[in-house]
Amino acid sequence: MIYSYYPGCTLKNKAKDLDRYARLSAQALGFTLEEIENWQCCGGVYPMAKDEIATKLSSVRALADAKAQGRDLVTLCSACHNVLKQVNNDMLTDEDIRTRANNYLKLDEEYCGETKVIHFLEVLRDVIGFDKLKEKVVNPLTGKKIAAYYGCLLLRPGKVMQMDNPENPKIMEDFIRAIGAEPVIYPMRNECCGGYVALEDKEAAAKRRNAVASSASGFEAEMMVTACPLCMYNLNKNDSDVPVYYFTELLAEALGVKDN
């Protein structure tokens, strides 16, 4: 199975591990991530305003590219996923945005939200299946208590993202079980870590991240997992000293391909 793949700017730089372990794991599981050509950064945050067209175009180009290949578009970074999925929803449902974006882009064929955007975790759940994944695990992380950190971007707005129940998700917990570990449920798993203000309001970001990490460690988590480079950056500085990993790193480890 071949998927179009949108890595995003951060996975080419500070978050190379998130990308590398995903590719190694995909290979081990029998699917291929084919990077789309000439993708551009999605901008990292969905432009909510109705009159913002230019800031949505890089996402539309990526979506149209996947459509031209006739493939689903896979993402890894929670932020890219959120931006691409929300822009795609605009192209599907907002006639004004759709018309203006197409007028700008002048593609051979109009883009109207046809591409299916799926997160790597959804490929594991819906295509591979967590049962099958479990069978492929050679190094189960037995006994490890792992807290899934969803943050905001994977789940919300639930109506658009449609990954899981936005208030009681389980996709990452099921993933943790599949790699042989024990998921830790804690109240802050789908509350924001404050990452977006980590540049210029370091105090506010620290407050949010410490609230999340101490919630996880209060429920006896030994580590946290995330899909978002910004969560990783911010959470990594937590005062509870809970280590944070990309879910793809644990996946590659469980599949025995981490050092390939």
Partner: protein, 125 residues
């Protein structure tokens, strides 16, 4: 154009749907950092009281976390109102909240690109 009309147009939000239950503010992770909370953004825009919002630092404390959007029982989408007022503020000439020359001192070795691009997208025009 009238400021209120401008905000309503940019946001696409129907502020009259709000029943002032305060759930959006109750769930907002930046509550302590904001002088005006999401439900106040909605109400103040509805009543045309826009200037205080345009000049408030609260605009730059919103995390775009969509918690208020998810949890509003009336589907008002307060985050879109906050973003529309923020855009109206930074689109005014010389009003960028983030200045490129101040950025280097805010970085460390681990700062992800994502943080920089999103800050520029949110805080500048």
């Amino acid at each position: 154009m009238d400021r209120k009309e401008e905000i309503l147009r940019i946001s696409g939000v129907n502020v009259r749907k709000c029943m002032r239950c305060g759930k959006c503010s109750g769930t907002c992770p930046s509550y302590d950092e904001m002088e005006f909370h999401p439900h106040q953004f909605v109400y103040m825009v509805e009543s045309g009281d826009i200037e205080p919002l345009l000049n408030s630092d609260s605009l730059y404390k919103c995390l775009s976390c969509f918690a208020c959007v998810e949890r509003c029982p009336r589907g008002v989408e307060p985050a879109k109102v906050v973003e529309a007022v923020r855009l109206a503020a930074v689109r005014q000439k010389g009003n960028n909240h983030l200045k490129a020359e101040n950025v280097p001192e805010l970085l460390d070795d681990e700062t992800p690109q994502q943080l920089l691009v999103s800050a520029f997208r949110k805080f500048t025009k």
